[in-house]
């Protein structure tokens, strides 16, 4: 019996030829990540435990991205704990204001994560790096603290669900639509404790940015990791970024899957997730007349170059509706700069869009775009739980960037083809 890509990566990191789903294993990890919300807890636990030696400073990555530039005094204190720790331990991969980006946009861009890696992060969207053909999964701060000392973490080897996306991708369908449709199909715990392996003709044709969006939201189906086997697109993305050796794993043709789910992408239209679960999906044409007061375009889900280009194509020569605040968050400084060079910033600013430094702020209701009671937002982010973006009686709808831009212009949720 063959093995899946997830099983092969884990097996390689415990020095075994084969492993089975359900095995409890301790594996070496290649990259350990935390942010300004989760790192302070990890640092406090690390120091309190007396485990004072970091196994390899080069493998630890701290990104301040949630509440910086500091939104208040408490956030400033949290960030300070990390700055001091990073200096004390001479961590080369510490990213502060000015250099930072949204962590899951930043790490691939800088070549810190590579195909074949095992990556753990104290952030649930760490699963994003599965788009490169890595095993990447979110954990909590204590797991990170332990791994900082040992370079290892324990895992229960997950079963895998194989998703086959067949057919030609329609022009208005993005990675966001594929993953929202998938979560709608299987539910927010449809892949609980399982690996989600994305395959098929539509994935082969999907851009790297679209793949990151898909793997990013595996956690929204309860998945342990989302993964896409490396191919030419992956190779082209990593070749000038990753400066260390890496391995491309592929699932065996006779690998064993818990389930195989086939999705015909040709029949899809852009997908909206209605409040208050990402699985509460609906095609945009059936969503009805939903007026919105805020549009957010960005985040670790949809803050990459392709996303900004899609939004700009809709915004060109148009204005945001007078009843809507639209905020765009480029994922990293490099994305911000490229968007300026391509003229996208002119389009956004001329359309009355507010453009921000990279931050997770509005996605989790932290800062930079909090909703009041009764307000409604359409967002390209990943979660629409109760109170996610502000007041517990506000509402969040999720979509792809083009739908978000079109809806910002219309003041209600629409398909981009309806933009006059």
């Amino acid at each position: 019996m063959g093995m899946t890509i997830t099983e092969k990566i884990l097996a390689a990191h415990i020095g075994r030829d084969r492993i089975e789903p359900g095995d409890l294993v301790t594996a070496k990890v290649d990259v350990i990540l935390a942010n300004d919300v989760t790192a302070p807890v990890a640092i406090q636990e690390f120091e309190r435990s007396g485990l004072n030696k970091i196994f390899d400073p080069d493998r630890i990555v701290f990104v301040l991205d949630h509440f910086v530039p500091a939104k208040d005094i408490k956030s400033a204190e949290q960030a300070k704990i990390i700055r001091e720790f990073a200096r004390k331990h001479h961590l080369p991969h510490f990213y502060d204001v000015g250099e930072m980006g949204i962590e899951h946009c930043l790490l691939p861009e800088k070549g810190i994560v590579a195909p074949g890696d095992v990556i753990i992060g104290a952030d649930s969207h760490t699963c994003t790096y599965g788009a490169l053909g890595a095993f990447a999964t979110g954990m909590g701060s204590t797991d990170i603290a332990a791994a900082m000392a040992t370079g290892e973490a324990w895992f229960k080897v997950p079963e895998t669900i194989k998703f086959i996306y067949s057919g030609r991708l329609p022009a208005d369908i993005t990675g966001k639509d594929l993953i929202l449709h998938t979560i709608g199909l299987i539910g927010v715990d449809g892949a609980l404790y399982q690996a989600m392996e994305f395959t098929g003709e539509a994935i082969d044709k999907l851009s790297m940015d679209g793949r990151f969006t898909m793997a990013n939201m595996a956690i929204e189906a309860g998945g342990k990791n989302g993964i896409i086997a490396p191919d030419k697109t992956t190779q082209a993305y990593v070749q000038d970024r990753v400066k260390r050796p890496w391995t491309a794993y592929q699932s065996d043709p006779d690998a064993k899957y818990a389930r195989v789910i086939e999705i015909d992408v040709e029949k899809l239209e852009p997908v909206i997730a209605l409040p208050h679960l990402p699985s509460n999906t609906c095609p945009v044409s059936k969503v009805g007349n939903i007026e919105i007061q805020q549009v957010v375009i960005g985040s670790c889900t949809n803050g990459r170059m392709e996303d900004l280009r899609q939004a700009a194509a809709v915004f060109k020569g148009k204005k945001v509706h007078q009843n809507v605040r639209c905020i765009i968050f480029p994922g990293t400084q490099a994305i911000y700069k490229q968007a300026m060079q391509e003229g996208l910033m002119d389009i956004f600013i001329d359309a009355n869009v507010a453009v921000s430094t990279p931050t997770c702020g509005p996605c989790l209701g932290g800062h930079m775009g909090i909703l009041a009671k009764g307000e409604r937002a359409l967002s390209t982010t990943n979660r629409n739980f109760v109170g996610r973006m502000g007041h517990p009686e506000s509402e969040v709808y999720l979509s792809n960037p083009a739908v978000a831009a079109a809806s910002a212009i219309a003041g209600r949720i629409i398909h981009p083809k309806e933009v006059k």
């Binding site: 485990l51 952030d123 204590t142 324990w154 715990d189 932290g366 739980f385 109760v386 109170g387």
Partner: protein
């Protein structure tokens, strides 16, 4: 270890934003976090909950973010343990790692109502509803995880192993 307390019952897919909204994540103080425990699921929970009380919930409890603040605030609010049909993966790990006892038992969730007095034997995984007299059996934790709990959390376990 044994716990006894009154039940607070919640529905399915209770996410970490409901357990501890992100607007309070600018602190790591367990006492501060406890003041907002379960706030977006039940705004008055932190005022009502008493030391030793037990949370019971339907499937997929703790879905969403990796914030360890979620089990930390539940523990700091005085909740002795959480029983659910299933737990989201990261919440499950985090609870074991910080020493918040959790039990999976769909039968107990269906058979126990809010306000019931319940006793839990953590070692045996038995859950007794003292209000109705009925008892339930939770799925036992793998020995590996029991060792982490016995050591007093993941970091103590790692230290014992000699890292």
């Amino acid at each position: 270890m044994e716990f006894q307390g009154y039940i607070w019952k919640f529905g399915k897919d209770i996410d970490t934003d409901a357990i501890i909204p992100a607007r309070y994540l600018n602190t790591t103080s367990p006492e501060e976090l406890a003041k907002h425990c379960m706030e977006d699921a039940d705004p008055t929970f932190s005022q009502k909950v008493k030391m030793g009380d037990i949370i019971i919930a339907d499937k997929n409890f703790g879905c969403g973010s990796s914030r360890e603040h979620a089990p930390i605030c539940i523990k700091a609010a005085g909740v002795s343990c959480v029983i659910a049909k299933t737990f989201a993966r990261i919440f499950f790990r985090n609870s074991i790692n910080i020493g918040l006892p959790i039990f999976e038992s769909p039968e107990a969730v269906d058979g126990i109502q809010e306000g019931d007095l319940v006793k839990v034997d953590a070692d045996q995984g038995t859950i007794v509803n003292l209000t109705t007299g009925r008892s339930y059996q939770a799925k036992p934790l793998p020995p590996f995880m029991q060792e982490i709990i016995k050591a007093g959390g993941l970091l103590e376990y790692v230290k014992k192993k000699g890292c």
